[in-house]
Subunit: 233 residues, 2 copies
DNA sequence: TAAATAAATGAACGTTCATTTATTTAACTG
DNA sequence: CAGTTAAATAAATGAACGTTCATTTATTTA
């Protein structure tokens, strides 16, 4: 993705300069991309046609191609947008959490269940591209890379936790795969349930997962204590 | 799906009866379905055309429609085949395992990683239909139902294990979601890696997951003991 | 106000697809 | 060996698709 650069001074002396057009252009550009995400979520990839996207965006069919050159490029742009937003949120969460693995894991869960990152449309888009990933390398590279990065982050943090907390009976990879899979399962639920998905409950389940494995680090909070039993040791 | 029943004795007195034709018919029928699975795995759903399936099966385009009435019906038949085989294997494993939750969980993992159930093509088909499930109720009903059944089985068994083993600090749903997600992650790997996927290693990871949570029930075997540490309590 | 440029339109084109129809091939019956 | 039926083919049909392009509309520059 390339930033659009304003080459000349804008808004000079109250007279509208070229910038006004560019803003319109950008707005249409973004509107088409948004419409694409909605269309993929509702009609899946095979049901996404340029005409449907155009209708959803409120522009002509020609405008869609004018802005994105081809349908394929439009689809990749939509995937890139979803992937990039998730990637940014993931990095930001990790940098904010600092070096504490407990805070970092909590932050990653938070990101994964953040309504802005994992809203139903975006999850559906992600799932749609995974479904075609086997056949289209261009999709697999994107979804696979991001999934691997997330998985690696989790494994590293769990490994830290195992070492510093003395949980030598645990296998870091197995624990991380379980957590990642648990969160993927929540995404699947989001996709099916839509806006009615209970994110608080999902949080509690993820917390309960970690609390079961790392009782000292992830003590049950009031919110997740609806089923609390005695402490283990 | 309905089983095709041979009504009359075949190969009577060396003279080929009508059954010969029926067998040919059945063979073509199955060949087209097999070809469909391969085609979906290689070209995804949107890239699966009747012509491609016909070419893969070595029959004419008309024959495909003749046998399955429509492309949509063909796709659903392919999904049903994959789903049904998994369902049968799952039930069989559970009934063989009897009432012991440890044996049952082991058996379910075994099924999930069974090369016949989760061969790369079938996993790719499963993923392809999940990708379209959001848009097509007909697919969601099938993939969703099966996933739920599997999830419920796991949760019930884990719950038993928690109660009988005194693991009251664990949340059955969280543990089961983690296990199911872990196995789903392995399926994703199967899809990407194909035949080179290391199933023994996958077994070890799944065992390690359960061993970390239920150390008394899932003792590390020689095969999975590459990373064995001290016992927890 | 006029000229120039950018953005957007919508009809038309060529292609691909699933399905239908007509025809040929093969198998079984008496 | 005819006669009949089922199975498979190949060609034809029509709808839907992505893309192109000549034209119109809107905006900026002079």
């Amino acid at each position: 993705m390339q930033a659009v650069i304003n080459q000349d001074g804008t808004e000079r002396r109250g007279r509208r300069s070229r910038a006004g057009t560019q803003r319109n252009h950008e707005r249409t550009h973004a509107a088409i991309l948004d419409a694409t995400i909605r269309t993929i979520a509702r009609h899946s990839l095979s049901g996404t046609t340029v005409q449907r996207v155009a209708a959803e965006a409120g522009v002509s069919v020609g405008a869609v191609i004018l802005h994105y050159k081809s349908k394929e490029a439009l689809l990749v742009a939509a995937l890139d947008l979803v992937a990039e937003d998730f990637e940014i949120a993931r990095r930001e969460a990790l940098s904010k959490a600092g070096s504490d693995p407990v805070a970092a894991l909590t932050a990653l869960i938070e990101v994964s269940l953040n309504p802005q990152v994992s809203n139903p449309d975006r999850v559906a888009v992600w799932s749609a591209f995974w479904g075609e990933a086997q056949a289209r390398r261009v999709y697999l590279d994107r979804v696979g890379t991001l999934d691997n990065a997330y998985q690696n982050d989790l494994t590293g943090l769990v490994q830290q936790l195992i070492e510093t907390g003395g949980y030598r009976h645990l296998d870091a990879e197995a624990v991380a795969l379980g957590l990642a899979g648990l969160l993927d399962g929540q995404w699947q639920d989001i996709m099916v349930s839509g806006e009615t998905f209970d994110r608080q409950r999902a949080h509690r389940v993820a917390q309960a997962y970690l609390a079961g494995l790392f009782p000292n680090e992830f003590a049950l909070t009031a919110a997740s204590a609806s089923f609390a039993g005695d402490k283990h040791d």
